[in-house]
Symmetry: C2
Subunit: 191 residues, 2 copies
């Protein structure tokens, strides 16, 4: 079993609920699309916010759209040291017992009780991709990056959905530490 | 073959030549030890400088002592994007065709033609450690970190010297991307 997939490095970002969007940007506010992401329907918005934790703050964090049912902030470990929070490594949407943070927008502030995670490295794929690879949703695989800074990422979560496009996601530190750049091909290897 | 070694995450830092130290801090200046590092004779100095690249600057970068024959600046890939330079991944001391940078100290500025690298991940060990592991200076090995963010680092350079202490060095992004902390044990695995 060997299959190459393009990798993408996620910078810190957040997904916002409709309620928090209105608190931060004003009543009835809607996100403005800056550019489409590779995952169908997902986009980088023009909107940015500031994050404030117990130890420090990070300015200009990009919002991704569309809005979701719950606000979710995805940061790197380096970011977590700046803010002074301890995010768990989690699959998107799993916010149980994650720390909160204060979000500052141009029209207001939202103080969250939870929502800050370090995204678990994962691969989006269609059911067709999964069948070829003999994989199913929630499986884990290993992925080798190659090159002089090559690493084998272990515990890579497989996410299967017919609305996905084949793409591996890591955060900026994972990607830089492995010396990879956006759209570089990496290889799924036998578990 | 399996041996556990403690890992250490290196933040951005620089080693300075005696000449550059005097340019930056004044004639006859000597470094002040802040704390000893694990490698015998090496220490974090109290002194900090600013780095200025074509695109941006990074303030408060720590100097390590003692002085060396050539000034060497070790930064992460994230730092390189901030500064706007492209450091090669290199073993310490190998500065050929590395980019330069401007260094600003309290008493002067040094404009370097070369010296900026991303340190190649490596393991310091004594000849006794090397013998136990059937390794020699300049060999490369693989190292598995374990844990939920486990990676296998490939192309890990082995550095053998009787003045070394057994310790693996990675930069902050490599370490955070693997979810490891200082002094955590990681495992050398068969190449």
């Amino acid at each position: 079993m060997a299959m190459q997939v393009p990798i993408a490095l996620s910078n810190r970002h957040l997904h916002v609920s409709k309620e928090d969007l209105e608190v931060l940007f004003g009543e009835g506010y809607e996100l403005t699309k800056l550019k489409d992401l590779k995952q169908p329907g997902q986009y980088a918005a023009e909107e940015k916010v500031d994050l404030v934790g117990p130890k420090g703050s990070i300015k200009g964090v990009r919002v991704l759209g569309p809005t979701r049912s719950k606000t979710q902030i995805e940061i790197s470990f380096a970011d977590s040291f700046v803010l002074g929070v301890k995010p768990p490594v989690r699959d998107s949407g799993d916010l149980t017992e994650s720390p909160g943070v204060k979000i500052i927008g141009p029209k207001g502030e939202a103080v969250l009780d939870e929502g800050v995670i370090a995204a678990a490295r994962h691969i989006h794929m269609t059911p067709g991709d999964a069948e070829k690879l003999n994989l199913k949703d929630k499986d884990t695989v290993k992925v080798r990056t190659g090159g002089e800074r090559s690493v084998v990422f272990e515990n890579v979560l497989v996410r299967v959905n017919e609305n996905y496009a084949l793409e591996m996601h890591v955060d900026m530190e994972e990607g830089n530490g492995a010396g990879v750049i956006n759209n570089q091909l990496v290889e799924i290897i036998a578990e």
